[in-house]
Symmetry: C2
Subunit: 246 residues, 2 copies
């Protein structure tokens, strides 16, 4: 049975936007923290992995939101590594409020990056055993975020020093911020995200410039489709579902 | 005697840079959080102030750093409102490690912004009394960060949705990130900040574009002088002292 890890967190004001709700990027930051802390608690920390020349890298997040936590709200973060095959590790995340209500859940696919060759490495027993996921032979077929058919808005972003993480590339959370920021403030003030499917294709590095493009589909449901490209190289795609803020 | 407020915090990985030390922006975020939490604890929260049409705005920070806290380190944040006059409130901040060593201290000048007129408002007894600062007649003469005499590097930044705080302008912390990011990664990997004097002149809003310029002075000590301008309007100036990373 997979090891389950839980920790409490108080949402603080700089994790929220002007609506007082947590921003989508910070929400994913918190879930990534739970996974980082589990590694530490089980003796297989990110630092230890880095020393061995490896780092966990996200290939896809599938996030569903029932309610975004608010400024000063106490929440519980939960995670477990559910399964792994030769190259992928799959993880489930959940966020609960004080009453035990499920606020959000996320399913994430990780690969192990060789920090020297920048290539995907086979997952070794030593690295994965502490988390006790199920060993599987199959590769999960996760839904694709889809492609833009037209561009409704776009913005350019230059990678900053603080966008880079210990894997020496742009941290997965910053793509989410670039994607959503390409929508304008009116949109972001009127709607809140209920689902995110984000898929990472090619890493970006310090000093790179990329373009964040978005298509807004209003019928039958409000959906935005996103892509981030560095010149012609697709770095990341995503689909976000929205509802009016309550 | 001023009310003293303390809270504990664990520095988490997304608050640190690739060196494993907290970033200067996040360090100031944490201190601002302590001040926000004190307001809440004393019944004069930022939300309550916002409802009355006001918000606290920073005019200057003077920060001195003995040692930057590291990833996963437990620290204590401390703050008190030391004094106030007709228009300014002065606050002291400190960060201690588990052994009680002083890691950093900051002195900050605040003014009260009228959120409708966007003008500075006189500080009322009702707003300030819970913090019990000393009432003074004088205005503190804080040192000026100085001006650039030449430009060694510059970068452009566009204000993003998540740069905006409940005062509906760019939060003070983002200026620090724009200023330091205008230095390149080599500089930021080789040196760490030991002091910051940052002065805020004109607010920036959503969608604004600004230019962050920096001059690097190497003798007799390593100092950088910064300015952020929106076209011809000076938004913010700063001086940062550095030492080689240990």
């Amino acid at each position: 049975m997979p090891e389950i890890y839980r920790e409490k967190h108080r949402v603080v004001y700089y994790e929220t936007d002007v609506s007082g709700q947590i921003s989508l990027g910070k929400l994913v930051d918190l879930l990534m923290l739970a996974s980082y802390d589990q590694g530490k608690a089980l003796g297989m920390s990110e630092e230890k992995l880095n020393e061995q020349g490896y780092g966990w890298v996200i290939t896809q997040h599938l996030l569903e939101i029932n309610r975004l936590p608010k400024r000063d709200e106490q929440i519980t973060l939960e995670t477990k590594a559910t399964a792994y095959n030769r190259y992928f590790c799959y993880r489930d995340f959940a966020i609960y409020d004080l009453a035990g209500e499920l606020l959000a859940k996320m399913h994430t696919a990780f690969v192990l990056l060789d920090l020297k060759t920048r290539k995907i490495s086979r997952i070794t027993e030593a690295v994965i055993a502490p988390f006790a996921p199920e060993a599987i032979k199959t590769i999960e077929r996760l839904p694709s975020p889809g492609k833009l058919t037209t561009v409704d808005a776009k913005k350019e972003y230059q990678v900053r020093f603080w966008d880079i993480d210990t894997n020496h590339h742009v941290n997965n959370v910053h793509y989410i911020e670039w994607m959503l920021d390409a929508l304008d403030a009116d949109f972001l003030l009127n709607y809140e995200p209920v689902a995110l499917n984000i898929k990472y294709e090619h890493e970006l590095h310090y000093g790179d410039t990329c373009e964040s493009k978005v298509q807004i589909i209003r019928e039958p449901e409000l959906i935005t489709v996103h892509e981030i490209k560095k010149t012609d190289t697709l770095s990341c795609t995503a689909k976000v579902s929205w509802r009016p803020r309550q």
